[in-house]
């Protein structure tokens, strides 16, 4: 049992010691070290007066064990437990590079420290004391209160580069050495054309070691106040996080004009995941809003944090789901139910189905040597709609594949698949229903003959590939309502797949031949370049894919894909070219370049998919960060819809960053053409003083 502090013996060590009055006190000199667990005091000279409960240390005094970091002073007078006391010319380090120094410091029994004429900064100080740290918080009096782990200031001045910028009679922030501690976080301040002036004051509340919450009321110029909250809880085998907002207000347009009716407006995001066993887990995700524009109206992002839930929502769409998924060595499975809320203005939720449920389980059996593997899988989907038909499908399939290496290095990969689907379509309002049962099968082989040429500095691989597939007919194709294979865009990854449709509802019957060549060059350790050319030819069977898939004609579009990756520069191209007209049906180019001081990414997209009517067909987006001098750099991004000649998003800003602070001033303009919200422009400034916190808009 640890001896109580005041009984703990004191170890003293010195070059020379004198005692006073026969052992009632001592004066030690010559790199004196006094230690009373847990604290140690080093000094040139120490006077120890046990009867007066006083220890006086002079000259290069260092106090260790009083916190994570040593504390320095010219002269210190402490009680004999080395706890409470006074120090002259005091300085200490705090966690996360925080530094505090003072003319005089008084430490009380519970470890609280009161400093007079003190300052606090997280910036490195020059050894010779020359020059000013980027920022420093100077105060007449600073109290580091150990009980509530806060640091309080009186007559505080925030100096930026030595120039007083802010004055506050009283100021406080959490002690950076404290791990988790309730307290006010930096307020969020901003102004927007819609909401007017905004002030949001978050309060961080550590409920218990395994849960905490943030409560942030927000007051705004043009609208009623809103309350925003976050809650997190860690369980033994999982976690849960929730966040949400609530207000009672009219609808407002982009100039802050009220209209519509005053009603409750709220949103809730969140999710959780728990491990059932090392392989399987279950979880939920919740995303709901009172009305389509609530999130945008109050500048909340419409995209919730990704917490690992399997069903990722599309843009302007919220999904609430419950799921069980997992994988073992040879099997993987997923079961999920999900309900969607679309925020997009042109679609209503009644026709949007909920997944009730979708399920998938596959197990892979290893066949005897040389005979590859057999994958058996079960897949089902049930879609329920308020308006429109319900869709039920259940499928069982067996998929065999192996790989043989023939003499002369020819690789032959034969494969075969058998599958049976059971469908049921029902439209309650219309009173119609239909069920279809079909069995399908295919067989084929991929044959490739890769060649390798090692060079001193460039190794090359050239791999011609040819794939033949013969699939059974599908008489019932007309009766199947296609729900899961609505958009196909032929590319390198799809060309040689036995089943090229993303789902089950479309089956490519008949025979087809696909061929292509893949060339890869490597040099140095990481540089490489790659080129792929390929095409697919339908020998017989029906054209099951639509015009924009590149697979409608018997001769498919040419598939062209390439990439190059040299130190600092990388580019990737993926394209489909019409065999007759030679014009590009789809082009997706991304370029990236980075070197010290400058980095940029550019992406150009040109899709001609007729039945994708939502997003832009031609778009260019780019972002860059350019270092101007030392700590200053310019940042920017742009996303422009070339068809409608509208710049959807653009940001341009200046950033100052050094070891202890980061200032961003960013002009942001969004024109997403959302009903009556119109384009919104805002100037945002984000100030982050490391260890103190940051001031930035949501």
């Amino acid at each position: 049992q640890e001896t109580p502090v005041d009984e703990a013996p004191i170890y003293l060590e010195a070059d020379h010691v004198e005692d006073i009055a026969g052992g009632s006190g001592y004066i030690a000199r010559g790199n004196v070290r006094v230690r009373q667990d847990p604290r140690t005091l080093l000094a040139d000279e120490i006077e120890y007066h046990p009867d007066q409960n006083r220890v006086v240390a002079r000259g290069n005094v260092i106090i260790l064990g009083q916190g994570a970091f040593p504390q320095y002073a010219d002269e210190v007078e402490l009680d004999s437990q080395l706890a409470a006391g006074v120090a002259i010319g005091f300085a200490t380090m705090l966690e996360n590079d925080g530094r505090m120094a003072a003319a005089a410091a008084i430490r009380s029994d519970n470890g609280s420290l009161q400093l007079n004429d003190a300052y606090y900064t997280a910036c490195p100080l020059c050894e010779d004391g020359e020059g000013e740290p980027t920022w420093r918080l100077r105060a007449r009096e600073v109290v580091q209160d150990a009980d509530d782990e806060m640091i309080y200031y009186r007559d505080a001045r925030l100096e930026i580069g030595g120039v007083p910028v802010l004055y506050a009679p009283v100021f406080a922030h959490a002690d950076p050495s404290a791990e988790r501690h309730s307290g006010f976080l930096f307020p969020k301040v901003g102004v927007s054309s819609r909401l007017g002036a905004i002030y949001q004051q978050p309060y961080y509340w550590t409920i218990s070691p395994s849960q905490d919450a943030v409560i942030a009321p927000r007051i705004m110029g043009n609208v009623n106040p809103l309350i925003y909250g976050e809650y997190r809880k860690r369980f033994w085998s999982g976690f849960m996080e929730l966040e949400g907002s609530y207000t009672h207000e009219f609808d407002i347009d982009s100039d802050g004009e009220h209209f519509g009716e005053e009603t409750d407006r709220w949103h809730i995001f969140g999710g959780g995941e728990w491990a059932i066993n090392p392989d399987w887990r279950w979880g939920f995700g919740i995303q709901r809003a009172s009305d389509n524009l609530h999130l945008r109206r109050y500048d909340f992002s419409e995209e919730d944090k990704d917490r690992g839930a399997p069903i990722a929502p599309q843009r302007r769409q919220l999904v609430s789901q419950f799921y069980v998924d997992g994988r073992t060595r040879n099997s993987s499975g997923l079961f999920a139910v999900a309900d969607f809320q679309t925020l997009a203005t042109n679609s209503d939720d009644d026709i949007v189905p909920s997944l009730a449920p979708i399920a998938h389980y596959s197990h892979v059996f290893t066949a005897p040597e040389n005979w590859g593997r057999i994958e058996t899988s079960f897949d089902a989907a049930s879609l329920r709609r308020d308006v429109g038909f319900d869709y039920d499908r259940a499928s069982v399939s067996i998929d065999w594949r192996t790989r043989w290496t023939m003499p002369a290095g020819i690789l032959v990969s034969p494969f075969a698949q058998a599958r049976s689907d059971a469908y049921r379509f029902e439209d309650e309002q219309a009173g119609t229903s239909d069920s279809v049962y079909r069995t399908l099968g295919l067989a084929g082989a991929d044959i490739s003959w890769p060649f390798f040429r090692p060079g001193e500095n460039v190794d090359m691989i050239v791999e011609p590939v040819i794939s033949y597939v013969s699939a059974s007919d599908d008489e019932d194709a007309a009766r199947i309502i296609n729900e899961d294979s609505l958009s196909i865009d032929l590319d390198e990854s799809m060309l040689f797949q036995p089943v090229r449709a993303p789902g089950f509802d479309i089956w490519e019957d008949g025979q087809r031949l696909s061929y292509g060549v893949r060339a890869t060059a490597f040099w140095g350790r990481t540089s490489q370049a790659r080129l792929f050319l390929g095409q697919s030819e339908r020998l017989d069977g029906s054209a099951v894919y639509n015009a924009s898939s590149g697979l409608l004609a018997e001769q498919s579009d040419y598939v062209v894909a390439g990439s190059i990756d040299i130190a600092g520069f990388d580019a990737e191209v993926s394209a489909r070219i019409d065999p007759e007209s030679r014009d590009t049906n789809r082009l997706d180019v991304s370029l990236g370049y980075s070197r010290p001081g400058f980095s940029t990414d550019v992406r150009y997209l040109d899709i001609s998919d007729a039945n994708v009517t939502q997003g832009a067909q031609r778009e260019i987006s780019a972002d860059f960060e350019l270092a101007i001098t030392g700590n200053w750099s310019a940042i920017g991004l742009v996303q422009r819809d070339l068809d409608l000649e509208i710049t959807r998003r653009q940001e341009i800003g200046i950033r100052f960053e050094d070891d202890c602070s980061q200032f961003d001033i960013v002009y942001q303009r969004e024109d997403l053409g959302i009903l009556d919200l119109g384009p919104s422009e805002s100037i945002q400034f984000r100030v982050t003083l490391f260890t103190l916190g940051s001031v930035e808009p949501d």
Partner: protein
């Protein structure tokens, strides 16, 4: 005089040898010098007197040199060393070698211990020798500090 100078000084030992010319007596075997409540013990003590020249008297004891298992015990402390020199004129006792001193609950180890009998102050260690003075101090019990500090504790054994 190793304690209170006015008290008589008794010396006992198993044997002693008088070297008249040097005014020097050698005491051997469990030598005890007692004065009042303080005592000096050692396996051998060489006692030198102030007397000079043939025919003069022995005078007073000038100094005592104690060697091997030297113990110096007073009400306030017990000190032990390899060699001890007691200068009567300056009333200073110096213990050297492997010195261990206990003062109440405090234990001090050093290579040199000088105790001034009139002032009662002691000095431990010598700066610059590279040797260190090491002390283990029991902080005065909070209850003790209330009593006056003069209540010297009686040394054990």
């Amino acid at each position: 005089q190793i304690g209170n100078s006015s008290l008589p000084l008794d010396i006992e030992a198993e044997t002693f040898e008088v070297l008249d010319a040097e005014r020097h007596i050698v005491w051997l075997g469990n030598v005890h010098v007692v004065q009042g409540d303080s005592s000096l013990q050692a396996d051998r003590m060489d006692v030198y007197y102030t007397g000079e020249g043939p025919g003069g008297g022995w005078g007073d004891i000038d100094r005592i040199v104690a060697t091997d298992n030297v113990f110096y015990i007073t009400p306030a402390q017990r000190a032990r060393g390899d060699r001890g020199v007691y200068e009567l004129a300056e009333e200073v006792i110096t213990l050297t070698g492997d010195v261990v001193i206990t003062q109440g609950d405090n234990v001090i180890t050093t290579t040199r211990f000088v105790n001034n009998l009139t002032t009662g102050n002691s000095n431990f260690g010598e700066a610059g020798t590279g040797e260190r003075v090491r002390m283990v101090l029991q902080p005065a019990r909070s209850t003790d500090t209330t009593e006056s500090s003069e209540a010297a504790e009686t040394p054990e054994g």
